[in-house]
């Protein structure tokens, strides 16, 4: 298995490098921003949450893009036939890709965690985005869990389209809620960012959010099992 994971790194080294470099730049930007507002951190904590979320989201989004590449590189009959002929078979081939993506995400998480720890020190312990990191990581893991079986079965390009449909549906639900749901807490607030964070700290919301990390880990594991089953069917449709 180690060899297959190494192969994924070898064939996708440029996207891995890009992901690490961009994460490092985003994190350095956040550390620099923390440094500039360190004397007024208490009053700006809501703004800090928003900026941390945006920068860290960008890190995880970019590392997520590599998923397309890792599947696209092996999307032909020769590569899939070679993978099936290996001692680990198609199962090992797919599992190695899941491990690769998990390692990529953990690398991003590590970089952002270090950045958060340094910012915590700079801001005198007044701000930590650890919860944001946890939720971003879990969210990205869940997205992988949903999109990969489609990529394996229908190919990377069709997989992206299906992911696009899923994201659109989620956005539509959010917009529908914003249009018809009870958002008085947001509408009558002087500071929407502050209102949003207070809403997230509400007991029921915290409980629902807390289920996301364990659920995403389970979904990722289940997705791997499904993808292994779908791999042979998908490989038959690959072009030569």
């Amino acid at each position: 298995m180690g060899g297959l994971i190494y192969r994924n790194f070898y064939t996708n080294i440029s996207s891995f490098r890009l992901s690490v470099i961009v994460s490092a730049i985003c994190c350095a930007s956040f550390v620099f921003y923390s440094f500039t507002i360190r004397s007024d951190a208490e009053n700006q904590s809501y703004l800090l949450y928003i900026i941390a979320f945006l920068l860290y989201y960008f890190c995880f989004m970019l590392s997520g893009l590599t998923s397309t590449m890792v599947f696209q590189t092996d999307e032909n009959k020769t590569a899939s036939a070679f993978a099936i002929s290996l001692p680990h078979g198609g199962k090992g081939h797919i599992q190695s890709k899941y491990w690769y993506l998990l390692i990529i995400l953990l690398t991003t998480l590590f970089i952002t965690f270090i950045s958060d720890t340094i910012s915590f020190l700079i801001l005198g312990g007044k701000f930590s985005a650890l919860l944001v990191l946890l939720l971003l990581f879990s969210g990205r893991l869940l997205m992988f869990a949903i999109e990969i079986p489609f990529m394996v079965r229908f190919g990377a390009m069709k997989g992206i389209k299906i992911k696009g449909i899923i994201v659109s549906v989620i956005l539509l639900l959010v917009i529908t809620y914003l249009m018809f749901g009870d958002i008085s807490w947001l509408l009558y607030s002087d500071d929407p960012a502050k209102a949003l964070i207070n809403w997230l700290k509400n007991g029921d919301i915290i409980f629902a959010l807390s289920l996301l990390p364990p659920f995403s880990i389970f979904a990722y594991w289940l997705s791997c099992k499904i993808s292994v089953k779908l791999f042979r069917e998908g490989a038959e449709n690959y072009e030569q």
Binding site: G2, L121, L134, S138, I206, F207, A208, S210
Partner: protein
Amino acid sequence: MSNEKRLTIKRLAIFLVISFLPFVILIPLLWNVYGEPLYAGENEQLAAIAYVVGVFGMMIPAAAVLITRLATKEEFEKSYLGAYFKGKSGYWAASVIVPVLESITGLLMIWAFFISGTSLHDAYPNINPQTIGEFILQLSSSVIIFFPAFGEEWGWRGYMMPKLLKLMPKTAAIVVGGIIWGLWHAPLTVAGHNFGTDYPGYPFTGIGIMCLECVLMNCFLTLVTEKTRSIYPAAFFHMIHNNLNPTILILVFASADTIQRINEMSLPEKLLTTSGGTIVTAVISFILFLRMDKPQKSA
């Protein structure tokens, strides 16, 4: 003494010096600069520094492993960095479930033995969706953001313990390994970590208790590491143990009155109740570890 044994001792010595040195230098230095102990001071800035020293300090043993392996040209082939699940999933699950059970046992023992005349609900009234959500988030965070504990575990269980097991019998290795691990915490203990600075016999009692605690924890951690040939279950256990120990859970779930009564408990009472689960886990793990086949001489 064979060449191999001599080389193992040399590598172990280099690893320990690199692991111990940063805290031995940094902690007194910070105490000198801020004029108060790192973990028992009033200064707000110091509290932030204490957290960061904790996070990066836990990564020192991992850095020591890297430096030692590179300096002594030791291969990375058997470095416990792989993840093997086949037939070992029980140990992986135990590394998450056991520390949670230990913490809950601690809360129940405090209630049963020291908060007499109060119902469980009155002692811990803050059990609601919000606190349960916070508990699950903290648990998830400990498993997912496991990097600091990985730093320690890769050093202690992934490098030191296999070397000690090569040099001495299992029982001695567990005890010696635990004591070394406890002594590594000594600068932090002197600076008020875990026990503060206001207790009888400061700081030697604290250092002694820390060593004892580390010997107990070493039983389970070494067992899961050797069984799974992987460092991650130990890292999960360690991180959950640090983030969700009974002392922290009390602050989340207990009433103000319960917290007041717990604060009035003596140090031995607190230790016995909060460490009750750890002792049971240690005994079971130790027996299982002794029954286990002798570990491969991999280090």
